[in-house]
Symmetry: C2
Subunit: 171 residues, 2 copies
């Protein structure tokens, strides 16, 4: 806790100090970033401590939970922003644990699809419920109207950022 | 742009769908996370396109910019949350580019300190100014009072999360 806190506070101060008086947009960004990192680190810690799971495993199972028919590995890689090689490693590990199975649908024998086993479905649902509870805990001191307000206002930031992406022009 | 957008929207929908009706805290968290990822990806893209730099390089130089006397590699590793091995690689690369120098202060010859060269200082200041401008651009459609309001309200989320870390108890 202490370490994460120091690092996050630090991050705000550092870039903050660079230009002396930072623009409000930069200050907001650094605060969003440090808050997201703080909560994300805590979620990683709790997933490991309570379920022996990693965040990439959690994210990957979340994708499969939603797609009852399973997903091809390439598609899983895209959706989790994990490289193909790493997805294969993740899937193999979760398969060994009995949470995932790999299938070759009759329709196309060249294709391999990963899907959750019944055990995997139960395991993920348990983690997802805990994950939701942890977020309620971490935000317990924030007024509930502020939480709804933040959701819609951060939505405005997201829309604005989406409208100003340089995108393919720079790729 | 399209790809980043799909992935981020996806992320919100996915975990959202898991419990049917998600709690407001989970909805807020997924929106914070997807917005942070969206902006972060755009910053990575622009650093690469305009400066041929990576985000870890930018973060590392930000640390050194603040510490005019330089930092030991171990300290740099802690502050950037990059492993020791990777910090060494980053430093070597930036040294080869002439942006960083490694020194052994007279006081303690066993210690190696990294600091920005004059070129590195100018290079970082240029990137930092662009970085600040990009954030203004990306948030251009958001009302300036909303930006200040968000800064303080996300501060409340950060404080609440800090107060509810499991921290060392689970380590």
């Amino acid at each position: 806790m202490a370490e994460a806190d120091v690092i996050n506070v630090d991050l705000e101060i550092i870039v903050h100090g660079v230009q002396g008086r930072s623009k409000p947009e930069l200050r907001l960004w650094l605060r969003m970033l440090s808050t997201t990192k703080l909560i994300s680190q805590e979620i990683r810690r709790r997933l490991r401590a309570e379920f022996g799971a990693t965040l990439p495993q959690f994210d990957l199972m979340a994708q499969l939970y939603r797609e009852k028919d399973g997903l091809r590995l390439g598609e899983l890689s895209k959706r989790t922003m994990v490289t193909n090689g790493n997805v294969t490693g993740l899937v193999e590990r979760l398969e060994a644990d009995g949470y995932i199975q790999r299938l070759t649908p009759d329709a196309d024998r060249r294709v391999t699809v990963a899907k959750l086993t019944d055990n995997g479905t139960i395991f993920f649902a348990t983690m997802a419920a805990a994950h939701e509870r942890w977020l309620q805990e971490m935000m317990a001191d924030v007024d509930s109207r502020m939480i709804s307000g933040l959701w819609s206002e951060i939505g405005a930031v997201k829309v604005s950022a989406s409208n100003h992406l340089s995108g393919a022009a720079f790729e």
